[in-house]
């Protein structure tokens, strides 16, 4: 394979294997987004993704998640629930982690977006990516891009002194403890239950930073 990391090739492979394993597999976001026959309001939007400027023309209904996956073929970011309940779609926008499924692409004119693809590369992993590999912080891997984006942002939030539900004193700087990581990572669900290894991976990166 000349370039197995080419996103288009990767995506095509995915679709082929999905079609092979399931009789009816449609792209629900695309199918749901178009209404036959009616004029669909479209808009131009431009933002940077992983440092590159991207200009898009989108149906106003397009979520940031669908813009990343369907328009830009950055399929690292995953769609789990599409309702803010699982965290699989977590990306970092203007320095903050958010659920990309509950925001519209057109709301991010001029914004700066980092996805899991922008944190590191397969040859040069981000320390959090490397720690997830080392500590086996996943099984199927579906929640992992969201977990990693979230974990990177969590360390930044602790560093910035943002308190959490488990911080005992609101007026002292929160600590990088396992209890804090568990609470702060609660917006990322892992169906495979890799939680304890995820906490170990974050703990290692936090320790390295300190």
């Amino acid at each position: 394979m000349p370039n197995s990391r080419d996103p288009d090739v990767f995506r095509r492979d995915l679709l082929v294997s999905a079609a092979a394993s399931a009789a009816v597999m449609t792209a629900p976001s695309l199918a749901g987004a178009q209404q036959a026959g009616s004029a669909v309001p479209a808009m131009k939007v431009s933002f940077t993704v992983n440092g590159k400027t991207r200009d898009l023309q989108v149906d106003t209904r397009t979520t940031l998640l669908d813009a990343l996956r369907e328009s830009l073929h950055l399929v690292g970011t995953k769609k789990g629930c599409d309702h803010g309940q699982c965290g699989a779609c977590t990306v970092i926008v203007d320095g903050r982690r958010i659920n990309s499924c509950l925001t519209l692409a057109v709301m991010h004119q001029g914004g700066s977006i980092t996805t899991v693809e922008g944190l590191g590369t397969p040859d040069k992993l981000h320390p959090m990516q490397a720690a997830f590999v080392k500590h086996d912080g996943y099984q199927c891997g579906y929640c992992t891009p969201g977990q990693i984006c979230s974990a990177v942002a969590v360390l930044g939030e602790i560093e910035a002194g943002i308190p959490s539900h488990v911080s005992t004193d609101l007026n002292v700087k929160p600590q990088a403890t396992a209890a804090e990581f568990r609470e702060r990572m609660s917006g990322n669900i892992c169906r495979c239950g890799a939680y304890s290894n995820i906490v170990e991976a974050i703990t290692e990166v936090a320790g390295r930073k300190a």
Partner: protein, 316 residues
């Protein structure tokens, strides 16, 4: 999702006028509740007015020594503000007990107040629901209603308001500031902001069509111990079964507001006179008119015990 046109608001009064004038228009702030409901076609706006560009993202002192919180201040920033952590800790605690880190980074002060109920039948468009479709009936009455209200409900609707933040704001006696479509400003006490369902559970707040929230103001600090206890089915990232927000003074007097029991944060000032007599006496007054169902009558002892724990912690 139904299709819609989209514009970015530039000026508050203009945005309010546009919202009132344009059929099917809605404001969008963090989008974390509205887009969820639009995907399910429970909300079907045909025009969205994005308010994120308005300059309502600051927390500023008021002349009387309180705080003015811009409508667009994110839940994360409000919870982390040094003044809020020090002087209004019940608000920080309530915010941090809600949703997830990702959601709090987007959720705004105004959007949080205006989030809609989590009643499962409201979310299921195949079921009758008077709030979603006035006159269709209430599926929760006689259905699964473990989460529902125990007080202040009606024969039309027994839904609860899901916000944690609003409970703290009720304990603090916050004021909601708005601009109306005619450009006039208005101040609404938080006690009058959310409504009881009565015959019109679809009408949830005191806001008029097109009215835009600009800020929420807090009165000068009250002192005392600030506590927010939330009881839920899992330890994080779950809505409240019940919650207790309290501000307790060294002399034992104080304020108590409840979440998860009604269509609005539940506070009865007269019940607070019972604080020196303890949780049982306060709860008896707060929930005197309670009409729980066989599935949610656990909320009554749960409120009493949670308040007892809060008061024990306040005593130190």
């Amino acid at each position: 999702m139904k299709s819609f046109t989209y514009e970015r608001a530039r000026q508050p009064a203009e945005a309010a006028a546009a919202a009132a004038r344009t059929q099917g228009a809605k404001f969008i702030a963090g989008g974390t509740n509205l887009l969820d409901l639009m995907k399910l076609e429970i909300e079907t706006p045909t025009h969205l007015i994005d308010v994120n560009g308005l300059a309502f993202d600051k927390i500023e002192p008021t002349p009387d020594g309180g705080l003015r919180i811009g409508a667009l201040v994110r839940n994360t920033d409000l919870a982390a503000d040094a003044r809020v952590r020090r002087d209004y800790a019940v608000l920080s605690r309530a915010l941090l007990a809600g949703a997830s880190g990702q959601l709090r980074n987007k959720a705004t002060t105004a959007g949080n107040l205006l989030q809609r109920t989590r009643c499962p039948y409201f979310y299921d468009t195949n079921q009758p629901c008077n709030k979603r479709q006035p006159g269709s009936g209430c599926s929760a009455i006689g259905g699964i209603n473990r989460q529902q209200a125990v007080v202040g409900a009606s024969d039309a609707c027994i839904a609860t308001h899901p916000s944690d933040m609003a409970v703290a704001m009720r304990a603090l006696d916050a004021t909601v500031e708005t601009v109306r479509p005619d450009g006039g400003a208005r101040q609404i006490p938080i006690a009058e902001f959310h409504r009881l369902p009565g015959d019109t559970p679809n009408v949830e707040t005191a806001l008029d069509p097109g009215e835009l929230i600009t800020a929420v103001t807090l009165p000068p600090p009250l002192g005392g111990k600030h506590l927010y206890y939330k009881v839920r089915d899992r330890a994080s990232y779950a809505f409240a079964l019940i919650s207790v927000g309290a501000i307790v003074q060294p002399d034992g007097s104080g304020r108590v507001a409840l979440g998860g029991v009604a269509s609005k944060p539940w506070r009865i000032e007269a019940a607070e006179a019972e604080l020196p007599r303890g949780a049982e006496a306060v709860t008896a007054k707060l929930l005197a008119d309670a009409k729980p169902t066989s599935q949610n009558d656990f909320k009554l002892p749960l409120v009493k015990r949670t308040l007892a724990a809060v008061l024990a912690e306040a005593r130190g």
